[in-house]
Symmetry: C2
Subunit: 341 residues, 2 copies
Amino acid sequence: MYKYRIGVVGAMGAVGTEMLATLEKSTLPIAEVIPLDVKENEGKTVSFRGQPLKIKTAEKGAFKGIDIALFSAGETASLHLSPIAREEGAVVIDNSNAFRMEPWVPLVVPEVNPEAAKAHKGLIANPNCSTIQMLVALKPLHDRYKIKRIVVATYQAVSGTGLLAIEELNKQVEAYILGKELPRSVYPHQIAFNALPHIDSFLENGYTKEEMKMFNETRKILDDPEIMVSPTAVRIPVFRCHSEAINIETEKPLPEIAEIVQILDNAPGVKVIDDVQNREYPMPVYLKGTDKVYVGRIRKDFTVPHGLNLWVVADNLRKGAALNAVQIAELLVEKNWLKGE
Amino acid sequence: MYKYRIGVVGAMGAVGTEMLATLEKSTLPIAEVIPLDVKENEGKTVSFRGQPLKIKTAEKGAFKGIDIALFSAGETASLHLSPIAREEGAVVIDNSNAFRMEPWVPLVVPEVNPEAAKAHKGLIANPNCSTIQMLVALKPLHDRYKIKRIVVATYQAVSGTGLLAIEELNKQVEAYILGKELPRSVYPHQIAFNALPHIDSFLENGYTKEEMKMFNETRKILDDPEIMVSPTAVRIPVFRCHSEAINIETEKPLPEIAEIVQILDNAPGVKVIDDVQNREYPMPVYLKGTDKVYVGRIRKDFTVPHGLNLWVVADNLRKGAALNAVQIAELLVEKNWLKGE
C-alpha cells in the first residue's frame, strides 16, 4: 500500500499543532509528516506519535516529495507558497481565506459537499471556522426542508486569532487578578470580560470580512445561490470553541422537534446535546478537543411559518480548522481523488 | 415644594446599590431615602450623598410614610411585600418579574411608553433588562418604519444574576490563574471562559423565561400585539453591561444608514457609537456606569426587503434596572401622576 508524505505548513501555530494531533489519530497511511514553518523556527522540534520532528523552512524546494500539504500559516503564506507547493507536486489543502472564493478552487466540508473535492486542480480550500460548524449542523435540514434564510450571531473564541491571542486573554485575566493594567496588543480593545463585535476587517457595506465569509462561503459550499445569511460575528473571552445562535427559515414545513433531533443526531459529524431540564446544552468550555459539531437549544421559531432556533458549538481549531483539513486529505485518499482533474 | 420619601427594597443588592447611586444624582426632590433589606442586614449601613444610612428590615409597617418604594429584592419579596407597601401608602416601582405581565400593571420604559405609567394602581413594573435596552434602541425605528419581526441573540453580563454571580466569576478567574479547581455555586456550569445558553428557567416550548420575557414584554410595552420576537439569551463572562445582536425586519422601507444613525442618535436615551473604520462600536467593558443605550454596527440586512442589523449595549444595572426605575419615579413626580387612577 502506498504511504503518503504529509507536509504541515505553519506547524508551530495554533491550528498547525492541532493538525499534527489530528494526523496522529488519522487512518491515513502515512509514510512521513514534514513540519514546515518560518525560517526563525527552523530546527525547533514538534512531536508526532511520540517522535520529535525537526521543523524545516517552508520555501521553494521544501515541498518536493510531499503528497499533501496542509497549509495554516495565514493568507500571505498561502498566496506565496501554495503555487510553489503545487508546482513541486503536492496537493494543497489551504486553511486560509486566500483562495476560498476562487471559482477554480473547491471549498469543502466533507460532511456537506464531499463531491466538490473531486475536481480539484491541486488546491482545495478549507472554509472559515464559523461557516464549517454552521453548515455541518444545517446541511441535514437544508437537504430536507430547504433553508431560505439564516440569521446568525457568533460567540467566537480567541484561539481563532492564534496563539498570541490566547496568550493575550491569559495575560489580561492575570493582570486583572493582580490589579494591574491590562496589557493589549493583538486585539484593538480589551478582550477579557468584554465582547468585541469585530472579527477581521470592515468592508464598505458595514459588515466584517468574517461576516461576509459566512454569507459567501455558505452559498458556494451548499451550491445554492439563493440561500440568505445575515450574520453578526462577535469575539468573546473564551479560549476555545465557537458558539453560534442560529435562526433559520425553511421553505417546507418542519416536523416536530423530536424528529428534527433524530435527523440531526443521525447526520454525519453532528451530535445533539439538548436536555434542557437537566441543564444539558453545548458549551464551549466543555467541548475543547472534541471532533463533532454539537447542537442544542433546538426549538421552533413561532414568529415565522417554518422557523427554527439552534445553538451550535464546535472546537474551532479541530472541526473548524485542522480536523476538516485532515478529513479532506482522508477523503482524497479514500476516493482516490488525489490526482484531481 | 413637597419632598419625597423614597424606599429602596433590596438596598444591599447589586441593583439596590445602583438605585442609591442613581438617586444621588436624581433631580427628584428627596426628603429622605430609606434603605430596606432582609432582617439579617438590619443596622448595616449604606451610603447616600456622603451620609451613612442604616438598613431597616423590609416588613409590615416599614413602608409607612414612604411615597415611592423601589423594589429590587427578587420575585418572592415583591409578591410578599408589595401589597403591604401599597397598603401603607407607597407607590411601588417593582424591578422583579412578579407583576410585569399582569393586565392591571403598567410596564414602563420612560423613553418608550411613558403614558402607560399614568393609569397605575399603586404599582408599576420595570421591564426585564434585555427588553429595556432593546426597546430604547428600536422604538424610534418602530415609530417610523413599523418593525414586524426581531431576531435577537444576547450576550449578558453576570451582574444580571446579582452580587454572588459577580463574585463567582471573580473566584473562577482567580482559581484559573492559580491553577486550582474552579469553584461553582451560582450557575449550573462554569461561567469563566464559557458561554451559557441558559438564563432563568426553561419552559415547555424550549425557550427560557428570559427569552419569553423579551417576546411578551416587547408586545406589552410597544402595545403591539403583532410584533414578533425570536430570542436566544446567553450568559457570557462579562461583569457588567448586556450586549445584543439584533436583526429587524420593517414593514416600510428603511432610509439610508446615515439617516438611521441620525434618527437613533436624536432619540431619547440613545447614543450611536458607529465608526468602524476607527474601530469604534459599543463594548460592555467600556460602558460600565453609563446611562444610555449605545448602538453600533448599524448595517442594512440585504437578505430581506427591509432589514437592519444592530449591536446594542447598555449597563444592565443602570438603564437595565436601577436607572429605569428611578426614571419612572421621576416621571410620576414630574407629571404629577403619583396618585394614579
